[in-house]
């Protein structure tokens, strides 16, 4: 026969409305009693009642090292009472206090207020610089060699009588790098159309394929050469990552495009594509925001757009003042981030962590 030693004791235990949720949930958080701290308990049993003196029902028995439990499926604006028992070997620790809380609906996620302020600030900068651009105030844009080379690369393809290969990355359309790549595709197609140079756009993602096809078609129409659009030039290959890489390598080796563009999101296939392109002697322009793939592109390609340059490319190539002004807004925002980082660092040194809590504390 097993005897349990029953200890009724105080251990810190709190119940609160789960923050920033749709309601109907309370979070229970406890501190381990000193006797079991750092040890593996047998179970933590949570009891709930709808009144202080009512019958407590066992709602959950946890075998956990975590000290938090979220009780879901509750009625909003109704008070719930909790107590906890912790079972450890032959001992049971029961919380002396009964704690209550009321689940409520939150209508605004205050933990994300920092992001909202940042975005509104950014929108403010965009509006300011767009207004300036509309007034005709010119903005300086530093030279990006990779984008200056686009004209040269298209010209080279024309001179050699070979096509241009454009890879819009391997990711889905939800990836902003893919959208940025499709924006650049439009500019590249317009330049290729001026020289009547064919362009090949193999795709990995079905949604990206349909959009890329429309972008190419519309770009030819915009430049006034819809007759140059070859429906076979934009096509779907496969969803398989390495299947796609091998198919594109095959195109590079067989069709020998004079210019390869690798713009968008890439993973492990980046080097396979870039190295194969390098062996065919093509001029290669790459750009990605995948930090881990950048060294491969820098090594194997002639020009590489690093991170944000990919997002600035469309504005840089089009030279439209309104688009260029958004790059200026990015720079202004970067200056603010720089100031906040410096300020956060200084305040952090002096133990004033509120700025860090505000900036990074939210969910």
């Amino acid at each position: 026969m097993k005897f349990l030693l029953y200890i009724l004791m105080v251990f810190n235990f709190k119940v609160y409305d789960t923050p920033y949720d749709a309601g109907g949930s309370l979070t229970i958080n406890w501190e381990w009693p000193e006797q079991v701290r750092g040890k593996k308990t047998d179970s933590v049993v949570i009891y709930r009642s709808e009144s202080y003196e009512g019958k407590f029902e066992r709602i959950k028995a946890l075998r956990t090292i975590l000290n938090v439990y979220k009780d879901n499926g509750l009625k909003n604006n109704k008070e719930y009472f909790y107590k906890i028992k912790i079972f450890y070997q032959d001992t049971v620790f029961e919380s002396e206090k009964i704690i209550s809380a009321i689940p409520k609906v939150q209508y605004f996620h205050f933990g994300r207020l920092n992001i909202m302020i940042g975005i509104f600030l950014f929108v403010g900068f965009i509006i300011f610089f767009v207004t300036r651009a509309k007034k005709g105030i010119s903005l300086f844009l530093r030279k990006i060699p990779g984008l200056d080379a686009v004209e040269e690369a298209v010209g080279r393809s024309t001179e050699m009588g070979r096509p241009i290969l454009y890879i819009p990355g391997l990711s889905t359309i939800s990836d902003v790098a893919t959208i940025a790549s499709l924006n650049i595709l439009s500019q590249v197609v317009k330049k290729a159309a001026e020289y009547e140079t064919p362009i090949i756009v193999p795709n990995r993602n079905p949604v990206v394929y349909t959009i890329a096809r429309e972008v190419v078609k519309e770009s030819y129409t915009t430049i006034g050469r819809p007759d140059l659009f070859d429906p076979d030039s934009v096509f779907y290959v496969t969803d398989s990552q390495f299947g796609y890489a091998s198919a594109v390598c095959g195109i590079m080796v067989r069709d020998k495009p004079a210019t390869n563009f690798f713009l968008g999101m890439f993973w492990a296939e980046s080097l396979i594509l870039a190295e194969t392109g390098a062996t065919t002697g093509a001029i290669q322009i790459a750009g990605t925001d995948a930090v881990t793939q950048l060294p491969f592109f820098i090594t194997a390609c002639d020009y590489t757009l690093i991170g944000e340059e990919l997002y600035a490319a469309s504005a840089y190539l089009s030279r439209e003042p309104i688009l260029v002004s958004t790059i200026r807004a990015q720079d202004a925002m970067k200056a603010i981030i720089w100031v906040v980082i410096a300020l956060g660092g200084i305040l952090g040194i002096f133990g004033k962590a509120w700025i860090l809590n505000f900036l990074f504390g939210g969910g």
């Binding site: 902003v176 439009s186 299947g243 080097l271 970067k334």
Partner: protein, 205 residues
């Protein structure tokens, strides 16, 4: 005109709604988000049909033009054969479809992935030639990191792995964070430009 205005209007409304959805944690806001995810799945299904038509048409034209017939014929035959095998025999574990997938598709993918090692070697050779100061620094830091990450580094001196880790954690991470801040702003800027209708290149205009 409408061809341009309607997509921009849909984009603005959806961007605006989903922006505010992010800050509203109520149940109807969550339901709206889930509904949007279902719409993405629905649209993707239509896109797959278009993509398969494109694949077949692309290779069929190549066959008709007698251009690399072997590759195009293999693609079309494989596509239809696998679809038929899957439809007739199912795709569960142990079926013919599963066996072909595991013994043909997976080894082929693994082979492509394995080739990466050789490409890395050739790329490393090109990158690590000490042509100038930057390339020399790259060569030295790469050498220290490589030595530091293998047991041999610890055998040379206890501080070699520590120094290698410092290179990864301090100068390397600082550069990565700098790029990450720029990328983050670029993502927000691109999204805002599209939602506000400033960027229209995605419409081919």
């Amino acid at each position: 005109m409408l061809q341009k205005q309607i997509p921009m209007f849909i984009c603005f409304i959806m961007g605006f709604l989903l922006f505010f959805q992010f800050y509203i944690p109520t149940s109807w806001s969550q339901s709206f988000y889930e509904m949007m995810l279902k719409w993405i799945l629905g649209i993707s299904s239509f896109a797959i049909t278009l993509a398969i038509v494109s694949l077949v048409r692309h290779h069929w034209r190549k066959i008709k033009r007698k251009e690399n017939i072997v590759y195009s014929a293999t693609t079309i035959v494989s596509l239809f054969a696998m679809s038929l095998i899957g439809l007739i025999g199912g795709i569960e574990r142990g079926t013919l479809f599963d066996k072909i997938f595991n013994s043909v598709q997976i080894p082929l993918q693994a082979t492509m992935f394995a080739i990466l090692a050789f490409y890395m070697a050739s790329a490393a050779y090109r990158a690590f030639r000490a042509r100038n100061l930057e390339a020399t620094l790259l060569l030295l830091s790469a050498f220290v990191v490589m030595i530091g990450l293998i047991p041999f580094g610890d055998m040379i001196h206890r501080s070699v792995p520590v120094f290698a880790q410092w290179i990864l954690d301090v100068p390397n991470l600082a550069a990565k964070r700098g790029i990450a801040i720029g990328v983050g702003l670029g993502i927000v800027a691109t999204s805002l430009k599209i939602i506000l209708g400033i960027e229209r290149n995605w419409l081919g205009r």
